[in-house]
């Protein structure tokens, strides 16, 4: 996968190898979320290319990106408050659904079967993330930490091959962050993970590669150890954060 020359970002170019966890860090406003928005096609960069699994993402309409196996979470949550927790997770999993208007109107057998399969898949993810108890509750009104987990469940239910996590640890309690890190460990291998996170301990522990963005430019790339020692990073990032 390669990103290149993105708008709020300029001349950003880096690759992520299949199966690795790539930490994407940088001060606020560095362009991390914008970069995710470009990959999930919520915004269109004026120039550059984004390639995933040999497919030019910029040539695809937004709704096709999910079918390629790209799933993401939102920093400020992308849940549907009026849907139950289970329905939110099923929403994440339904991108392959063939239930269009005509088939749904008649509730054809394959629509029912698809719905049962989706529900089973969602319930498995809910159980894995210990959300079974709240499955039937509306997403609106649950505690923030739980919502973050539902957000993650929604992305995982899509069974992604590329998982974009936008600050999954923000707002979580200390113990929850450890749990989250453990969970991301278990996803590794099934999916390539790009992790945007301010929680440095977690990024350094999980990442195979770390990419540092500042003012829309890549200022360093390397293993966690290399990046930690990089003078440019120390000046631009750690200097301002600490």
């Amino acid at each position: 996968m390669r990103f290149g020359g993105v708008t709020a970002l300029s001349g950003v170019s880096f690759g992520v190898r299949p199966g690795e966890v790539c930490g994407l860090i940088g001060p606020n406003g560095a362009g991390k979320t914008t970069l995710f928005d470009c990959v999930s096609r919520l915004t269109r960069p004026q120039e550059g290319t984004i390639t995933y699994a040999g497919q030019d993402l910029l040539a695809l309409p937004t709704h096709r990106v999910a079918a390629l196996g790209v799933a993401r979470t939102f920093q400020h949550l992308g849940l549907v408050p009026s849907l139950s927790v289970r329905d939110n997770v099923m929403l994440g999993a339904q991108h392959g659904s063939r239930a269009g208007f005509a088939a749904s109107a008649l509730r054809l057998p394959f629509v029912r079967a698809g719905e049962r399969a989706l529900r089973a898949r969602a319930d498995a993810v809910l159980e894995r993330l210990e959300l079974t108890r709240v499955a039937a509750r509306p997403a609106a009104g649950l505690p923030y930490g739980t919502l973050k987990r539902i957000e993650l469940a929604r992305a995982l239910a899509a069974e992604p091959t590329l998982l974009l996590l936008d600050e999954p640890a923000s707002g979580l309690a200390h113990g929850e962050v450890d749990e989250l890190a453990g969970l991301i460990e278990t996803v590794r291998g099934d999916a390539t993970v790009v992790l945007v996170e301010h929680h440095m301990g977690m990024v350094m522990r999980l990442s195979d590669t770390v990419v540092v963005l500042d003012f829309g430019k890549v200022i360093a790339t390397g293993t966690p150890a290399e990046v930690r020692e990089d003078p440019a990073v120390l000046a631009a990032y750690l200097g301002t954060a600490a």
Partner: protein
């Protein structure tokens, strides 16, 4: 607090649900044989509006798109059926799919540009459609009969059915309404139902979940149009006559108020809302002819203020007083930071999977 507690999805829960549906159907079937022809006529009208409101309800209540032009689709459906029956030998039964097809196509043609608009802009553009409908119907005289309208040969009572004409028209409309409501229920559950709510409440989530938002919106707009078209065709059957004055701008607002009064995001609400918009003005007229508008308007305001979630919401709360539906207890994986079922949503809160905004 409830009299009975049942587990969601259990046999008792299913029995209750089917029992309610069976009882409702039995009542709906028994009514025409225990009322007057004029009341049957009014109830038939209720069904016509209920079909149209069910379509509009999907658009407004689920996808959050407001159309002020639904009366125009109703008119086009009525005229399509009327013109086909008055000018060709087509069987009346085929006039229904014909009206649906024409209004669906109109909805597609209109929906494709309209989907770029949202909120107040879509409302205004559809309003233009409603405003234009009347003058167009008056001008297109060769097809519509102009100002004097068209007489429609009504569906004759079949020989094997020993009922009066008014009872037959009611039963016919009831059957069509039943089918249309069932389809609406199917469309608003499952993947498609989730897609609609996601489009309304979280468009970014919808798009990243692989939903083709533009396509779903357009098809839904066309589907809502087709519902109004079928409602209009039933209306033409029921009255045996169509004329432009039946399809004023007010009709669009009547349909929209039926949706809101009935309850946004519920299919059953369409019937309740249609009952309201047909009968409340009538009773208001009986109280005082001069004050009809004021009484109707007052009732409308009262419902909006006093019944959040509309009539369907009220019914749901009443039902919850009697029957408490609980989720099956999870076996594992339930060590959660969230307080347990005592805080399950009650009163004004939407139920699980509930869709009231």
């Amino acid at each position: 607090m409830s009299l009975v507690t049942v587990v969601a999805g259990s046999r008792a829960h299913r029995a209750l649900r089917w029992g309610t549906i069976a009882a409702g159907t039995a009542v709906a079937l028994a009514v025409p044989f225990n009322s007057s022809p004029s009341l049957n006529g009014d109830l038939t009208l209720v069904l016509c509006y209920a079909v149209a409101a069910a379509g509009l309800g999907m658009l407004v209540g689920y996808a959050g798109q407001v159309s002020l032009g639904h009366g125009a689709f109703f008119a086009v459906g009525a005229y399509t059926a009327a013109a086909l029956l008055a000018k060709t030998d087509l069987h009346w039964l085929l006039a229904l799919p014909a009206a649906a097809a024409v209004t669906f196509a109109l909805g597609l043609a209109f929906g494709i540009p309209a989907l770029r608009l949202r909120g107040i802009y879509l409302a205004l553009v559809t309003l233009a459609l409603a405003v234009a409908a009347g003058p167009v119907l008056k001008r297109a005289e060769p097809v519509t009969g102009g100002v004097s309208g068209l007489s429609v040969p009504q569906p004759p009572v079949p020989g094997w059915l020993a009922v009066d004409a008014d009872q037959w028209l009611y039963l016919l409309s009831l059957a069509v309404t039943g089918v249309m409501l069932l389809i609406a229920v199917n469309l608003t559950r499952g993947s498609l139902g989730r897609s609609l709510l996601a489009i309304r409440d979280g468009e970014r989530a919808a798009r990243t979940a692989g939903i083709d938002v533009a396509r779903v919106k357009t098809l839904l707009f066309a589907t809502a149009g087709a519902y109004a078209g079928v409602g209009g065709a039933l209306f033409a059957f029921a009255l045996g006559f169509v004329a432009p004055e039946s399809f004023t701008l007010l009709l669009s607002f009547t349909l929209l108020s039926a949706v809101v009064v009935g309850g946004l995001g519920t299919v059953a609400g369409a019937v309740l809302g249609a009952l309201f918009v047909v009968f409340v003005p009538q009773y208001a007229g009986e109280v005082d002819q001069a004050l009809t508008g004021i009484i109707y308007g007052g009732a409308l305001i009262a419902v909006v203020y006093l019944l959040p979630g509309g009539a369907a919401g009220l019914l749901r709360r009443l039902r919850r007083r009697l029957i408490d539906v609980v989720e099956p207890t999870p076996q594992r994986g339930d060590n959660d930071a969230v307080p347990t079922s005592d805080t399950a949503p009650v009163g004004g809160q939407p139920a699980a999977g509930g869709v009231r905004p």
